[in-house]
Each structure stands twice: as structure tokens, then as C-alpha cells.
Point group: C2
Chain length 407, copies 2
């Protein structure tokens, strides 16, 4: 059985994702699709709309065959770290290829770009350093450095977040000497960050979330952009828990944690760069909402996303020393769910997996997975007190979700 | 001008307190009454019903002339530490006497008891150690040790919390070689812990709080036990903030802080004794309320009060290393309020004060006071998000409360 790997967040699963996974399967001539999916906290430093279990269900109903959790140590991270973790998982589970969406749909321009960067690595890195010294953010410096060097037209536009991810996937594959082949398909939907509905059936996850949180918009307004299963599952979750998860649900917890810390303690938290700690304390003291806090905290130097990721680490109390201990590659495969085809694949390939496959949490006690458990516990506190414990318990009791499906 | 000192919490101020302060003034033949009052967290390890500022107003309207805050480092502490801090403040502000309430009203029995303990200190301490090894709590061991030694009838009953405090006040005065003279008056009200209304006008603060939190009891039911000003101020506070402060208001914050910690980190918190950290983590995980948490956490070894104090320190993130640095005596006098008489007293005695008198927070930046500020910030989060900031700001902006009063 041939497997194609994809790297996803599904926040929430929508028609664009459905298209992406079918097209990936075709492009790779694969029998099954394996998704590495961020857990409860996402790459942009946000809590996921709904729990990883519900997003797994959406994924399986939408056509994915196996869902593996991208561990916390890789999930709320810059593109490079995120890519390293995700790629190492797809490699170890035996995918023949990795297929990502891009504006161009042209893999050769990606391969060329990676080669170009590697050949000019020294200049590239030096340029990045110089741009950072001018006070711009890291992603901006990356893009500017690249622009300053590249004159040929066949290279990828590194000012687009999705392209940066694509480049990082390929760099990670090379670096890890992985046999997994990179593929790309042309994205059908709007720009990644687009907040407005763009076409008749495809909209960005950002615009869908915006609609879900809008007090004036009916939830049904998203129906044309998501599979009926997504719509139904979102509705049930919201009815049961009374809320979707968003940063404002965690604002009092974040503020509390900041106010109970002194600058020295804050500085031990991962991503709290020297000098930021006093600013965080002062701004938290006078803010009444997460949005207000972020707007005051934001500078030219740090992107919104970068600061949000830092806030996730403050919330989960993740220390610099802790993260420094971890390897650049994943050390386990946490199985969140599978279809009957996915099950068949795992049965056949069991003996070839290069990492332990975890179906039951109680059976495994590595340091890294404790971080996932903690993240889930904290994430659970985003719903009311009584219901939070249900989400907490689910982490320990939920076996992988299985969807029976005709091949 | 002659000043008598009293040590109070006023949670809330009631008729028993009113009686105590008048009787103290008479017994001491004093012109004014100076109260050392716990800030927002109290000796039994609880958040105060209402802020220290409102309780200061109650105290001044009830007859106290000067209110000084007992710093956090002494407030949520065992009797000995609590007494050391409070006594050092009364001494440094120039009180001639300290008057406390007791069951007997007989100071000679207290003095005798203190002498007896000191003469038999070695046996006393050895006994305490032995009793602790049998698994009982520290206060219980103290009382049992004492019982095992004393056969004479003229000694004080150390199984009563108020008597223990009295004894500790006298020991602190002796230890600090203070010229402040100890006095006691007979308590008029019910037992300290009594949860039921006892007489027609005097009730314990515990029973008053119970009535205030009872969903079925009207707030007016407390009116016969408290001065009209207390009743009015409580009503206004509750109407404005929508709540009184109680542990349940802080439960999600406490749970969050526990769940985001690992055992090693929990063990750095003051009063988290070795071995307790894993228990705290396990119990927090399965609890949905502070009460439920405490009931599961409670053992014969630790009193409810002792564990509640520990929870206060987890909430405020107060470390063992931090507390170890502090002196046994207070290092500043934080003035919360005064009457015109109190003002006159301070004016006359200004030059004799042995500690800095702080009226404006911005003027003073000692380590110890940072702990009070932090405690207030955390305490403030016990009301809704928007209103919390008002309580936080008050800590910096509120000048001492002044009540004009005829002499």
C-alpha cells in the first residue's frame, strides 16, 4: 500500500482541505493519506477551535486515513521546527511522498529555491542577521534576505507563509536524508490569511473561524465552505461546551500567570527573549483582553504570530531548558485516529515503523508526551469548570477514533 | 497620646470587634486604637471577603484610629510568624500596650503559660516532635505536648486557636524585647470557629460569612450582628463587583497553576512540603471545585488551615527561597487609613517611628512590599475581568483612607 503524507491543522476542516487531500492522493498515486496534525495548540500560537479529537473525526470523515498528532514541541513553533517534526513523523511511518499545497503547484521551483539557498547559505544567513539588526521581524528578515540575493524568476516567493512552509518541508527532508519524495499541488483556495469568503465553495480557515466567532453571523453561513460532517460536529461541540476555544477564553489564566511571575521567572519561559519580560508584565497589568494585550505588546521586531506562540508557552509553562533537551525529530507516533484502510496499512507496516506507535496514553511515559498531556489539560480549561474535566479525562481514556470506510 | 494596639482581620467587621476595640481602649486607658490588619489574604489561608481598603473603612468607621497592613509575609502564616510580624509593627509605631481577646480575660494565666513553656522549652519541643511523628498536625502536636507537660490548672487551654495567638503575641513581645505591655479582655462572642449565630447581637465572623454566602439567606439577616456601616459597605461592594471573594472564585486559577507545574516546580513553593507535590497534582486533576479539592487533599497530618495557606502561596507563586530571605520582623508600616485622631498621633510621633511609614506605594520599592502588591493583583482576579483592573489600580492609586471624627 502506498501512502502520501500531508501536514495539517484543520482548524476546522473545510472544502479546500478536502480538495487538497484528494489531489494529493492522485498526484502521489497513493492508496491512503496520512495526516500529521497539530494537537490543541497551533502553529500560529492559537488554541484550536475544537479539540484534536473532534478535528481528527473531521479529518477521517473528510478522507484522511490516518491521523498522527504533531507533538507540542513542534506544533507551536516557527516554520523550520514545525517542518522538522512533521517530516520526521511522515518519514518514520513510511510515506512514499509528502504533498503540500502552494500558489504555483510547481515543485521544481521549490527544489531550485532550496538548492539556491543552500548554495548561498552563508550570504543568506549574514543577510538575515543584518536585517534583524534593522529591527524587522525574523520572517521579514528571511524574506528580505532572500529578495536581496535572488534575481532569477524561477524561485519561489518567500513572502508567502505557505511557501515558507513548503521550503522548510523540503529542507527538512534533505537534512534528515529522508527518502520521502516532495510533491506540491496548486492551492485552490484564497490566500492563507484571507479573512473574507473568496469563492463559492472554498474559503480560508481564517474566514470560516471569523464567521463562527461573529456575533451577528449564523453558523449556517459556513455551510457552503465545509463538508456537512464538519458543520454538524462543530454545532454539537458548541452546543455541548457552550463555546469554541479562542484566546480570550484563556486571557484571565494568562494574565494571572504573568502577574504571579517576576521578570526572572518569565525569562525562563521558552520564547520569552531577554528584555521582553518587563514589557510583558507592564502590558498585562493594564490590559483587559487578550487582543488588547497583544496590540500593546506588538512591536516591529516581533510578529503577532511569534508573540502568540510565546503566550502559548507562558500558558503551558514550557521552559527554555525543557525545550533545549528535545531532539529535532519526533520520538513517538501518537495515533489519534484511522479509517479501516488506515488500520490495514498500519497492520501491514507495523514492523517497519521506526518510532513507537502510541494508541494508549497510559502505556507510554516519555518526557515529550508529558508536554502534550499538559497542553491538553491547559487547553481544557478553556471551557467551563465542570466540562473541562471531561476534556482532560478524554486525553487519557480516548482510544484512537476509528471510522469504517469502503475502499 | 496613648495608643493601644490590636491585631485584626475584620472579615468582616462586626459587633464583637466593636466591643473588643472599645474594651481594649478602656483597659489600656488609651486615647487611640491602632490596628494591624491582614491584607487581602488571611491567617487561615483564605481570600478576604472584601478588599483591604473596604475593611479599612469598616475599621475606621467602627472606632479604630489607625490601620496598618500586616504584610503578606506574615499574614497567611502559622500563629508564631503571624504574631512576630504583627507585634513588631505595634512596637515600632509606639503602642504602649497590645490588647487581645481571650476566653478567660486573665492576662496572668497567659504570662504564666509563656513562662512555663519557656522553662520547659526543651521537653516541650521534644514532645512536639514525637507527636508529629505519630502523624498528627502541628497545632495538634503543640496542644498535646503542652497537655502532656502541664498539670497545674492556672495555665491557658492551648487547644483554642485564640489562646494560641495570645500566647504567641506574648512570646513575640518577649523575644523582641518589646516594651509594649500585653493585656487581654474577655471575649464576648461565640467560639472562633462557630458557624451558627450565638447571641442576639454578637456572632462570629465565620457565621456572618456563612450567612453572606448562603444562597437562601437574605443579606439583611446579618444586620443585627454588624454595625450599619459594615452592612452598607458590604452591600455596595457586592452590588458593584457582583461577588464577595471566596476560594471558589480562584479555583480555576489554582487548578491551572497546579496543572501547568511539574512536581519539582511545585516543591519550590512555600509550604509545599516534600511528598505533597504529587498528591496535589493528582488531586487537582480530578477535582471540580476548591472544596472538593481540599476534601481529597486533607489528611490527618495537615490541618485544613495549613493546606489552605499552602494554596494561597501556590496562587501567589511565593517561593521558599523568597520567604527564607525575609526577617522575622516587619520592615515597613503600610498605612491603609486613619481618623483625624490617628493623623494627629502620627504627626506627633513621626520622628519616633522605627520603620518607614508608607502612604504612597510608588515611593517605596522594597522586596517585601512587592509581595503585597502581587497578592493584591492576584486577589483582584477574583472579580470579573474588567473590574479586576480597578482593584489592581487601586493598590497604586489609593491614598490612605481618612475619616474625620470628633475626639
Amino acid at each position: 500500500m502506498k501512502a502520501v503524507g500531508i501536514i495539517v491543522e484543520y482548524n476546522p476542516f473545510h472544502n479546500g482541505h478536502s480538495y487538497h487531500l484528494q489531489a494529493s492522493k492522485e498526484a502521489a498515486k497513493a492508496d491512503i493519506v496520512i495526516a500529521v496534525m497539530s494537537g490543541n495548540f497551533l502553529q500560529r500560537g492559537e488554541p484550536a477551535l475544537v479539540s484534536k479529537w473532534l478535528r481528527t473525526k473531521m479529518a477521517l470523515l473528510g478522507g484522511v486515513d490516518i491521523v498522527i498528532e504533531l507533538p507540542y514541541q513542534f506544533a507551536s513553533q516557527k516554520a523550520e521546527t514545525f517542518a522538522n517534526g512533521a517530516v520526521s513523523i511522515l518519514d518514520s511511518i513510511g510515506c512514499q511522498s509528502l504533498c503540500f499545497g502552494s500558489e504555483s503547484g510547481d515543485i521544481s521551483s521549490f527544489l531550485k529555491t532550496v538548492d539556491f539557498i543552500e548554495m548561498n547559505k552563508h550570504t543568506y544567513d549574514e543577510n538575515i542577521k543584518s536585517f534583524i539588526q534593522t529591527g524587522v521581524s525574523y520572517p521579514k528578515a528571511l524574506s528580505l534576505s532572500f529578495q536581496a540575493m535572488s534575481s532569477t524568476n524561477n524561485l519561489v516567493d518567500l513572502s508567502k507563509p505557505n511557501n515558507i512552509l513548503g521550503i522548510q518541508y523540503i529542507r527538512a527532508l534533505k537534512q534528515q536524508k529522508s527518502p520521502v519524495m516532495p510533491l506540491t499541488i496548486k492551492r485552490k483556495n484564497a490566500e492563507y490569511h484571507d479573512e473574507h469568503f473568496a469563492t463559492e465553495t472554498i474559503a480560508s480557515a481564517t474566514s470560516i473561524r471569523k464567521a463562527l466567532f461573529s456575533p451577528t453571523m449564523e453558523q449556517t453561513s459556513i455551510n457552503q465552505y465545509v463538508p456537512v460532517e464538519t458543520s454538524q460536529l462543530l454545532k454539537e461541540y458548541h452546543e455541548y461546551f457552550g463555546t469554541f476555544h479562542e484566546w480570550e477564553n484563556y486571557w484571565t489564566l494568562l494574565k494571572f500567570r504573568i502577574l504571579q511571575s517576576n521578570p526572572e521567572e518569565l525569562r525562563t519561559i521558552y520564547e520569552v527573549e531577554e528584555g521582553l519580560e518587563n514589557r510583558i508584565l507592564a502590558v498585562a497589568l493594564e490590559s483587559n483582553s487578550f487582543r488588547g494585550f497583544m496590540e500593546k505588546l506588538k512591536t516591529k521586531r516581533y510578529t503577532w504570530t511569534r508573540l502568540q506562540r510565546m503566550c502559548v508557552h507562558i500558558l503551558t509553562n514550557t521552559k527554555k531548558t525543557e525545550m533545549a533537551k528535545f531532539s529535532e525529530k519526533a520520538s513517538y507516533l501518537r495515533l489519534l485516529g484511522m479509517t479501516s484502510c488506515g488500520k490495514e496499512y498500519l497492520k501491514k507496516n507495523k514492523s517497519h515503523l521506526s518510532l513507537p506507535l502510541i494508541s494508549k496514553l497510559s502505556a507510554y511515559k516519555q518526557k515529550e508526551i508529558l508536554l502534550d498531556i499538559k497542553a491538553t489539560q491547559i487547553y481544557s480549561l478553556g471551557v467551563g469548570n465542570q466540562l473541562a474535566n471531561e476534556l482532560i479525562q478524554q486525553e487519557f481514556k480516548q482510544p484512537p477514533i476509528i471510522i469504517t470506510k469502503e475502499r
